[in-house]
Amino acid sequence: MDILNILIYGTVNSIIFALIAVGFSLVYGVSRIPNFAHGSIYVLAGFLTWSFINDLKMNYALAVLLSIAIASLIGLIIYRFILIRLRGMPTSEIIASFAVSLIILEGLRMQGIAGFKGFIGPFYVLQPFIEGKMNIFGVFVDYQRLIIIACGLVVVIFIWLFTHHTKTGLSLRAIAQDEQAAMMLGVNSDRMAMISLSIGSALAGLAAVLILPLGNIAVEQGYRVLVYALAVCIIGGLGSWAGTILASFVLGFSMITSTALFGALWENVVLIGTIILILLFKPSGLMGKQKELEERV
């Protein structure tokens, strides 16, 4: 296995992790809600895009935009009607959001639910934006993976600009840093949490549209994506931006390297092994600040 291959696919993989986790991290950072429905929204957005294209014969771009919008709306609804009553009770938040996740995923598993009559075969595949591969120094990379890299970078830059230069973005950061103080300065905590959930869900949708063309859409993806998002955020330190990105790269490369060395079966073992190892030495993640704050008795 040559180094270049690991380097390129590792980067792609890392950015996939980052795309998956960034929404979850944003939601947790702003509202302290662990959104266990993240994975289900991801899959739902994928299914919706597929359905819009194949059932409703929609334009690709339109389908993508529409399903991202719907994903964002679902995030908003989840917060407005369920999570808003459970703020500050982490166990209840986890249970309720996971229940939502089960409802969406197991609902999707049933065939014949509104709009999904087209599902008969076992595989639902989204086509990539552009078919084909490209040769980079002897390594073949398909265009979709390049698009993922580009979009990943755009998303990170966009979020950075959004949180540093717009009023809403700054309010989000204010709430993330100190909820009480921000509320005193007139930032509406509930509204911000709602916005964060809807942005987070939109990001999940975006990730789905970008990543799903690499494989096929299946309900199990929802659980996997949730576990990956949790893994990245836990390792990076919940709610830490830089940590999320760093952890994506750590996990992305450790996974690709282990696949290269031991074969694909071991990638998940190595993944969770890495998680446990890192948490053993840094119980609050690579960049987490939670512990230190709590230690100030």
């Binding site: 230190e292 230690e295 100030r296 008795v297």
Partner: protein, 252 residues
Amino acid sequence: MEKEPILQINGLSKAFGGVQAVLDVDFTLFKGEVIGIIGPNGAGKTTLVNLITGFVKPDAGSILFKGKNIKGFQPHKIANLGLVRTFQVMRPYHSLAAFKNLIVPLNSPRVRRTSGGKLGDRDSVAIDILEEIGFERDARVPYKTAGSLPLGYLKRLELARCIALRPEVILCDEVFSGLSMSEIASMIPLLEKLQMEGITIMMIEHRLRELFRLADRVVVINFGKKIAEGIPKEVMEREEVKAAYLGTGKRK
């Protein structure tokens, strides 16, 4: 008369991020005395307690308890050696009855050891301690859940949990704050009694008048540094202490 040092602190430092919370502080506690730690808000007094009792790891310096370096020990190890603390923000076990709160320290290795394995009925020991510390006025109070007790009782409970451990040194983190004058007045004899029993007490306090009744010596801390040490009256006369409390008086 030769005084025996029980707790020696040398060059203790701790920084949180860029903020130097405690810098190069050293002082010594002698057996049986009451020492007061004073200083303006945010001077690093509570951090000092956290450092000594192991809740926060020091960056540098040494903490000698009875000649043994306890720096880097886990908090429960330190408590088992007989160096115990109260918390500034009270931390009762709110779902347990007040006297059941004391079952926790009564089960610690230290108490098991010192009582030779025989403690008898722990509940009755717990209630005895509570009575001793001023729960005697209302017979029902020890049976109420700690979460429903008023502030004055919580402060006492905090102290009672320390006493239950049969300590040698108690670090009191603002036991008087938030109490009324009469409540403080009833706490003072309690602390005096502890001192009579040979327990060394380090008090962090903002209520200087009450502190000075008790303290043999005071240490003044500002911005994490020790700026003065000595007999209470003398220390308060010093310029740097006045400056720390009142500002320098120089205006530009």
